[in-house]
């Protein structure tokens, strides 16, 4: 039987391996939350931030409140994970960032030993007028590939609000990923969805980014960068809907295939229902650009080193 202290120590170790700073989980100046499977191991609130949790049989329900006008100096750190080989974690997340608030959230999802693990997140996120929410989620998976990750979110952004999210999964095998984020923007609101994934082995990746530009002057960017090696396969859907005057949106998808057995698909959908809106897209699927590789080789890098630099760059 593993004690809570051992679980916490294991999570902190995995967090550090994934690039997180150990001190961030110990600081009392920053809000934080560490959840292992369905147990809240550590929590800290700061003025203007409330993190209410309720443990369930399979995970944790989390209510995240950023109070009106709160501008958080230090990023909020969230840490989710399962350390054993098997397990299920369901996070039901409700976020309310009230008017004129501003917060930066750094989330780490840690599954270093996963052989048969499912991690689900269902998020319902609401940003008030002029609220700014910057959410960066980095995954650290082991080398077994036995994991299923299903992050789903619906985000409503109030007038003049800004939602920025980055989902990065480039360490370890992805396993099975089914990412589905949908954002609804009111007047002058901004949404930026960025997904960066490195698929290897027999990883199976589905990415679905949807942005509805429903307010006057709303702006959106759905960006994805995927690199696929071995027998990995990926399908990326980037959808942007311009439904209001002066709405501006862009879908930007690049998938690089390294090798002959990986498979990449991109399905950009751009739709406009207002004659003053404009939505554009670019999608490129192909092998790693030979000229880029040779440019780096001409500086003395071996071919594999050059490819590695290019892959790391695109996933940065």
């Amino acid at each position: 039987m593993i004690s809570v202290e051992q679980e916490y120590q294991g999570m902190v170790d995995a967090y550090e391996k994934a690039g997180g700073a150990r001190s961030a989980l110990l600081s009392t100046d920053a809000a934080r939350l560490v959840i292992h499977r369905n147990k809240v191991l550590s929590a800290n609130e700061v003025k203007g931030i409330r993190l209410e949790t309720k443990e369930t049989a399979t995970g944790v329900n989390l209510y995240f409140l950023v109070e009106e006008g709160t501008r958080i100096l230090h990023p909020v750190h969230l840490c989710f994970g399962i350390l054993p080989k098997e397990g299920l974690q369901e996070i039901i997340l409700k976020v309310n960032a009230q008017d004129n608030s501003e917060v930066h959230v750094i989330a780490h999802c840690l599954f270093p030993n996963a052989v048969k693990v499912i991690h689900k997140m269902d998020a319902d996120i609401e940003l008030g007028n002029n609220a700014k929410f910057d959410y960066k989620e980095t995954h650290y998976h082991g080398e077994f590939g036995g994991i299923e990750v299903i992050p789903k979110a619906k985000v409503k952004v109030g007038k003049g609000g800004v939602w920025q999210s980055t989902f990065a999964l480039s360490q370890g095998l992805v396993g099975k990923l089914d990412y589905d984020f949908e954002v609804f923007c009111q007047d002058r609101a901004v949404a930026e969805l960025v997904v960066k994934v490195y698929g290897k082995g027999s990883d199976d990746i589905k990415v679905w980014e949807k942005i509805h530009l429903n307010g006057v002057g709303a702006r959106g960017l759905a960006k994805s960068r995927l690199v696929l090696s071995d027998k990995a396969k990926a399908e990326v859907r980037g959808e942007t809907y311009g439904n209001a005057p002066y709405a501006r949106g862009h879908v930007d998808c690049i998938e690089l295939v390294n090798g002959t057995e990986a498979v990449a698909r991109a399905i950009p959908i751009v739709s406009v229902t207002n004659d003053k809106a404009k939505v554009t897209h670019e999608a490129a699927i192909g092998s790693i650009d030979r000229k880029q590789v040779e440019t780096l080789m001409a500086r003395g890098l071996d071919e594999t080193e050059a490819v590695d630099v290019i892959v790391r760059g695109i996933l940065r």
């Binding site: 650009d289 040779e294 440019t295 080789m297």
Partner: protein
Amino acid sequence: MLIVENLQLRLNGNSIIKDLSLHVNKGEIHGVLGENGTGKTTIAYLIMGVNNYKPTAGRILFEGQDIADLSVSQRAKRGITLAWQEPARVEGLSVRDYLKLSGNNFGIEQAKHYLRMVGMEPKQYLDRYIDNTLSGGERKRIELASVLAMRPKLAILDEPDSGIDIVALPLILNGIVEMNRQGSSVLLITHSEKMAEIAHRVSILCAGKIIRTGAAAETSLWFKDNCRTCLHINEPVEEDEKL
């Protein structure tokens, strides 16, 4: 240092490089002057070994060793590098990291020094990515800074002046001269006789063949007087071949 002997390249049944011979001496800036379509970039690619170009015949000797079968990396490790006419952009790779990739373990101050040598303010550029947010001219200057940072034995510069504005051009010229002072030999590929003036010697390329080699000033003048007004459209006449 570099001896190219009777080099030939045929692509899709067309003769692109025809029995080309060229010597670049150690410590020399050697200009290759030619109009568009004469094969200047092809020579650069053949010497560096990029773009899957392999000579159909002939030899490329670097410091006495035939390098035609070496990979791009192996050639670079022997001290050859290339600055492309249109440098690649690499998303997510910062200018700082690109300069460090050159293989010399230098600190931030040296990276700044090389950027200043090509007229770029380090504070403005070090942390930028070499992606499509940089203009073609900016990218070219960064390419030159990276060659300076590498301190190669032989730098092949393919049209280093193209796309460079008139204010930055003297900095590029100074950068090339400084590169040479640092100890690099330079194969300076250009269509500009003005650019070729900084070379010690110049060879004139016409239709995949070197038709004349000599001192920079007089050879550049010959190029200006003959090649600029040439009517035989990239086909060297017998008289030229004898020169």
